[in-house]
């Protein structure tokens, strides 16, 4: 379990993280969401013991990050932002170093390195110098280093940033695969990632925690949650007809697409379906919206800025 209590970090006059308190249970993939400069990376740097908090404290599986820092770091794997690596070393040299720093020697070292290498499919580049690798491979080397000791807690700062869609998919699969029984904290500003990957999301802006919910819960806050979108020929007529439904609160036409928002009474999707049947409209597309994270994100973080 991770417990953070009033975690605070100042850089001179700038308050980067402002009294952040939260707890994370094993089996959770927690996403830190926030605009750039929100304090996500600073929070991660404090959790991993790189930066000392200005005030407040945190515990990783019972190890205090300030008083018992080395023990806390032992149970954590960390991928810093941008996955910095010793570029002049070969992949094999680098991973051997990471394994030794984690206390593995001899045969055990070879075993741990091999497992991480197999998992991230790095076998073919082991003898290659890291700086000659592609971005995707570098990221994989960074991840290999983080999971090498099979840590119960993984902290990954923007693990998919700058990768192509296939590489993103690979990294997400890996995270999903590793998530049972573990605590995984990732930071991202890619909203779809939260939906695809996380079981819990914390929205942070200006160092403060603004929302802490499941991705589904966040979607529920969207204006579009349970709204129905249609594409059809007679937009205006359909808009006025559907706007009169008791199940509808309002209608909106945007870019040839009609969206009906629910009033909260009855089943809007059904009512819209019935209206389509009754009127005999030719509808090319109907969709029940689950909600839009980008809108929720903007609302929550903008309200704060205003």
């Amino acid at each position: 379990m991770i417990k953070a209590r009033e975690l605070t970090r100042r850089f001179g006059p700038l308050l980067a993280v402002d009294r952040l308190s939260f707890e994370v249970e094993p089996g959770t993939v927690l996403g830190f969401l926030g605009p750039n400069g929100a304090g996500k990376s600073t929070t991660m740097k404090m959790l991993t013991g790189f930066l000392a908090p200005s005030s407040g404290s945190a515990e990783i599986l019972g190890h205090d990050i300030s008083r018992d820092s080395v023990a806390a770091r032992q149970v954590m794997g960390y991928l810093p932002e941008g996955a910095p690596l010793y570029g002049e070393l070969t992949v094999a040299q680098f991973l051997a170093f990471a394994a030794e720093a984690r206390g593995f020697r001899g045969e055990q070292r070879a075993r741990q390195v091999k497992r991480a290498v197999d998992r991230l499919e790095l076998g073919a580049v082991m003898g290659q110098t890291i700086e000659t690798l592609s971005k995707g491979f570098k990221r994989r080397v960074g991840l290999a280093q983080a999971i090498l000791h099979d840590p119960p807690v993984l902290i990954l700062d923007e693990p998919t940033d700058g990768l192509d869609p296939n590489q993103k998919h690979e990294v997400r699969s890996l995270i999903r695969e590793m998530s049972p029984e573990r605590i995984i904290v990732i930071s991202t500003h890619i909203l779809e990632e939260v939906d695809a990957l996380c079981t819990r999301a914390m929205i942070i802006a200006q160092g403060r925690l603004l929302a802490d919910d499941t991705p589904r819960g966040l979607l529920g806050r969207s204006r579009y949650h349970n709204a129905v979108s249609l594409e059809l020929d007679e937009l205006d007529r359909a808009a006025s007809r559907l706007g009169e439904l008791p199940e509808a609160r309002e209608v909106e036409i945007r870019r040839g697409r009609l969206t009906v928002f629910p009033s909260g009474q009855g089943d809007l999707f059904r009512a819209v379906g019935k209206a389509i049947d009754d009127e005999g409209w030719k509808v090319s597309h109907v969709q029940l919206e689950s909600g839009r994270l980008d809108e929720v994100f903007r609302n929550i973080t903008r309200k704060e800025a205003a």
Binding site: P80, E81, Y86, L89, T90, Q93, F97, E100
Partner: protein
């Protein structure tokens, strides 16, 4: 502090030296320059004395520029590429990292120094030198290199720019080298009490190195270099803590 962790950091650091041309360039330049100085400026042959005095005499000046070149990358590079975050979030303490890196660089300079052994063979072939004095010279030279290196390592933690680290290190090393000479002492003489000025004069690398390389292994001279190294590594450790976040 765990020696095993110091060794892990040290081995990683040494692997990096030899993975790039830096190590080879340094060694070749050091060997060429030390030989050139002893033969041309030191009058190694012309003196017709079987010792390595003309060889050791120029070490302080060689080190003044070459050792900061080795030390400048120690922390500045880690900060520039962000690997410092990787290093210091491994279960290794900052003290272990500081010592491991320093020892790696010091062994590396030691290797370059050891590769000057043909000088020692030459002087033994040509005459009958006092090999005890020569051994003392090597020990003194290596200790002095350690002092320069500790200064450079510390100042390298102050910046992410290696050029800045280099220049700062050369200036501070120059101050330590010459602190017994008027060029440095005159700066302090007007406003510091005489006891402190004498203290500064006693900090001179040159003075302590000279007495060791003449074959006088006085415990005080050894302790002096050990203290200088210890002080600057401690400062390195503290500076790292303060500056790593920037």
């Amino acid at each position: 502090m765990s020696p095993a962790n110091v060794l892990v950091v040290m081995r990683r650091e040494l692997a990096s030296y030899f993975a790039t041309p830096v190590a080879y360039v340094f060694i070749v330049i050091f060997l060429v320059m030390s030989a050139a100085f002893s033969f041309h400026l030191g009058g190694f042959y012309e003196r017709e004395i079987a010792d390595l005095e003309p060889f050791f005499r120029f070490h302080p000046w060689l080190y003044l520029f070459l050792v900061p070149a080795v030390g400048m990358r120690l922390w500045a590079e880690e900060r520039k590429y962000g690997t410092i975050e990787l290093l210091l979030t491994l279960p290794i303490t900052a003290t272990e990292a500081v010592i491991g890196k320093f020892v790696a660089a010091w062994l590396f300079v030691g290797l370059a120094l050891a590769l000057t052994f043909p000088m020692w063979i030459t002087v033994n072939v040509l005459g009958d030198p006092d090999n005890g004095v020569i051994v003392a010279g090597y020990i003194g030279s290596w200790l002095m290199a350690g002092g320069f290196l500790a200064i450079s390592a510390c100042l390298s933690a102050a910046t992410r720019n290696q050029v800045v680290a280099f220049i700062l290190s050369v200036v501070v090393c120059f101050g330590f080298l010459l602190s017994g000479l008027p060029i440095v002492l005159d700066l302090f003489r007007g406003w510091l009490p005489q006891a402190l000025v004498d203290g500064i004069a006693n900090l001179s690398f040159l003075m302590h190195f000279d007495s060791i390389s003449r074959g006088v292994i006085d415990l005080r001279n050894l302790i002096y270099f050990v203290l200088v190294i210890g002080f600057w590594l401690l400062a390195n450790r503290i500076l790292l803590e303060i500056r790593k976040a920037d």
